[in-house]
């Protein structure tokens, strides 16, 4: 456990950064879960609600920004404190982007004119659930300040990239087989891309958490990378 600062108001400020990040992470989790649900159920009015809710995440990011600037100006944090404060800025920025991607999914669901084909939708929702699990893992690693859990979350992204590749292939085939599905499938492709990007942001956050805990950059390579050559064949 970290000892308290001599100045207790400093601890209170850092704790507020911490709790705001956790709150923000929870909201992002909600947004993704909800947008996946709206996608499964083709629930346009729910999707509208999700789009509206995005502002909560943006507001929290601004709050965290303001707080970290204040801490830097007032306290000149050093060592582990400095890493926490700098990483908080980058984590909140990543969470905000994740929120945008989740909202983008809802935006497509909300557009009643788009007819989204069922079979690939199911695959995409499954992939989304895997990403949701990654978000959970990475938030958990943040709460527990565990570099090992952060690495676990980071490593999970390989599966997401795999699923994305499969979905990409499947959508190409569907479109080639039936040109009527092209509009729907290309929207689904964007949705899959949104989800895949969220996975990438989880990796960024995992790297930040590793840095906070160990003071070292996470040097890690994915075992697999999407092989676009293979797709183009």
């Amino acid at each position: 456990m970290m000892k308290d600062h001599i100045v207790s108001a400093y601890d209170a400020q850092l704790e507020l950064v911490n709790s705001n990040l956790i709150k923000m992470g929870g909201l992002v989790e909600d947004q993704l879960r909800n947008s996946l649900q709206s996608l499964s159920n083709k629930d346009t009015s729910f999707a509208e609600q999700i789009i509206f809710d995005d502002h909560k995440i943006n507001a929290l990011e601004k709050e965290i920004d303001a707080l970290t600037y204040k801490i830097i100006a007032m306290r000149q944090p050093l060592a582990n404190d400095l890493r926490v404060v700098l990483s908080a800025l980058s984590i909140s920025n990543d969470l905000e982007r994740m929120g945008d991607h989740a909202t983008n999914i809802a935006k497509r669901v909300a557009n009643v004119k788009i007819n989204l084909p069922d079979a690939p939708t199911i695959e995409i929702v499954k992939m989304g659930e895997d990403v949701q699990f990654m978000i959970k893992q990475v938030l958990d690693s943040f709460v527990k300040k565990s570099d090992k859990l952060a690495i676990k979350a980071w490593d999970s992204d390989v599966n997401i990239d795999d699923s994305y590749l499969n979905i990409y292939r499947e959508l190409l085939e569907t479109m080639a087989g039936n040109p009527d599905t092209i509009t729907g499938c290309s929207h689904l492709l964007s949705i899959a891309k949104n989800i895949e990007r969220i996975g990438d942001y989880v990796q960024n956050i995992a790297e930040d958490i590793h840095f906070i805990v160990t003071g070292q950059a996470l040097e890690r390579k994915s075992e697999k990378r999407i092989n676009w050559e293979e797709i183009n064949q």
Binding site: M2, K3, D4, H5, I6, V7, Y10, R75, Q76, P77, L78, A79, N80, D81, L82, R83, G215, Q216
Partner: protein
């Protein structure tokens, strides 16, 4: 990394029965700034005073261990303490100009050390020392007025000019900025980055930010022990010792 200029080995210091330093070993490098940090009473000033044998003048103080400069043991019988102090200058927490003119404050050292006697030589030393201490332009029209009439920051730079007037190789600074405002502090820090081109500087400071700004290496003392010494970058970003981290992040208690 520059060559080792000062090497302290297994230093124990006692004030009477009370031990103030415990087995301190530390190397300090030529033409670099080394910072010493640590809570009040941890022995920073005591350690600094070992480097120019200022502890000799404290009756109850005894020093064990070895300090060498350029490989020569400074506690050796053959060493003349006067010439040691000539090559190891010191600047204190509170500016302490002599109650004499600005000119005399600087000319005094070179004169008694026999470095210069003629007026033209002394004039030149006074001017270049003031130049190096970044004070000349501010005082050139009042060299014969009292040094004590200068502002605190100017007085401290006068003390630095006085220290460098006898061509030292090493300058020890014991909290040189603690009585100064932020602008005067910035001037001294700026000056240090010039001075280190010519001198080896050891600075004791209570400001983490100052240590981080001016020094290349930093040593952290606690209860008379040197806990950790490393590059300043490492000490302030990712120190190896938990005590160091607790101290620099304000968690000491």
């Amino acid at each position: 990394m520059n060559k080792i200029k000062i090497s302290a080995k297994n230093i124990d210091v006692f004030y009477g029965d009370k031990q103030a330093l415990f087995d301190v070993s530390m190397d300090m490098y030529e033409k670099e700034v080394t910072a010493l940090i640590g809570p009040s009473g941890c022995g920073k000033s005591t350690f600094l005073r070992c480097i120019n044998r200022m502890n000799d003048v404290i009756d109850i103080c005894s020093v064990k261990g070895n300090v060498s400069i350029d490989g020569h043991d400074i506690y050796d019988k053959s060493i003349r303490v006067e010439s040691l102090r000539e090559s190891v200058g010191m600047v204190f927490q509170k500016p302490n100009p002599f109650p004499k003119s600005i000119y005399e404050n600087i000319a005094y050292g070179p004169r008694i050390h026999g470095i210069a006697n003629s007026k033209t030589d002394l004039d030149e030393i006074v001017e270049t020392s003031l130049q190096k201490a970044a004070l000349f332009d501010e005082v050139k029209d009042r060299l014969h007025q009292p040094g004590t009439g200068l502002s605190g920051g100017q007085q401290q730079r006068l003390c630095i000019a006085r220290a460098i007037s006898v061509n030292p190789e090493i300058i020890l600074m014991d909290e040189p900025c603690s009585a100064l405002d932020p602008i005067a502090t910035a001037k001294i820090e700026d000056l240090m980055s010039e001075l280190k081109k010519e001198f080896t500087i050891i600075i004791v400071t209570h400001s983490m930010q100052q240590a981080a700004r001016v020094s290349k290496n930093t040593g952290f003392f606690h209860l008379g022990k040197l806990i950790e010494v490393d590059s300043t970058d490492t000490i302030f970003s990712n120190p190896g010792n938990q005590k160091t981290q607790d101290y620099i992040t304000g968690r000491f208690g």
